[in-house]
Subunit: 144 residues, 2 copies
């Protein structure tokens, strides 16, 4: 499979060229993939409230199962507009499962989704994303 | 106040020169400051389970209050050895308050603490840390 390198230097450029985003109260990072992006976004947008949720569907580049949540989905009170952040929407299953779950748990809150990458074959298109690629993306935080 | 710049390039060097760490099952990142470090550490150490907890005591470089936890402290079951990760131990109040709280809630689990920086005046010395400085540290993820 062809591999695209996503470097820190490209990431910095991306942070300088974010799309217009709605006003948000909190960021929910999908762990592990979304953590670094969520952290930098939170600094950039001056959002102090950042939570995270473990969702895993990959193991060594193979899709192993439906997304499962490793921590309870408890959102802080008073935070109505929440931006869910991940590195990539590949099949889209992680984001769509999480989003449905959150909407059921918190029907009055507003959720937005933002990823760095989407695959053209994703079944779920995030509200915001920066790049589209059919290739495997090697992110700088995965560097051994 | 004198400012020390902590760059991404220094961070990469630090990741190549980590101290020997005990075997751990999960990482708990202190948000926001510890998120990027926790993410990179988790990749490096191949730890899939990463949670985070919001703790804040700073607002615009001034210490404003005792640390308060913005999300419930629920640790995943079956994860006995947990590495708590933050960017800096300044007064040490965040880490020591969190650690005491966790030890009360989960008396049988083993907790370790790891920060990139400590201030020489900290009242709490993490189990692991990489740099000591009396200055204000400007981290690359805070870059506007």
């Amino acid at each position: 499979m062809e591999i695209v390198e996503y470097t820190y230097s490209q990431f910095r450029k991306d942070l300088e060229n974010l799309p217009p985003l709605p006003s948000i109260d909190a960021i929910l990072a999908i762990a592990r993939g979304g953590l670094t992006f969520a952290h930098h976004l939170a600094e950039k947008l001056e959002i102090r409230e950042v939570g995270c949720i473990g969702v895993s569907s990959y193991e060594n580049r193979r899709k192993i199962s439906s997304p499962s949540f490793s921590t309870p989905l408890i959102l802080p009170s008073g935070k109505e507009k929440i931006l869910i952040v991940d590195d990539i929407s590949d099949t889209g299953e992680t984001l769509s499962t999480l989003l449905n779950h959150l909407k059921n748990l918190y029907p009055t809150r507003k959720f937005f989704t933002f990823t760095l990458f989407v695959k053209p074959t994703t079944s779920f298109l995030p509200d915001f994303y920066l790049h589209t690629t059919p290739h495997w993306v090697s992110f700088f935080w995965e560097k051994k």
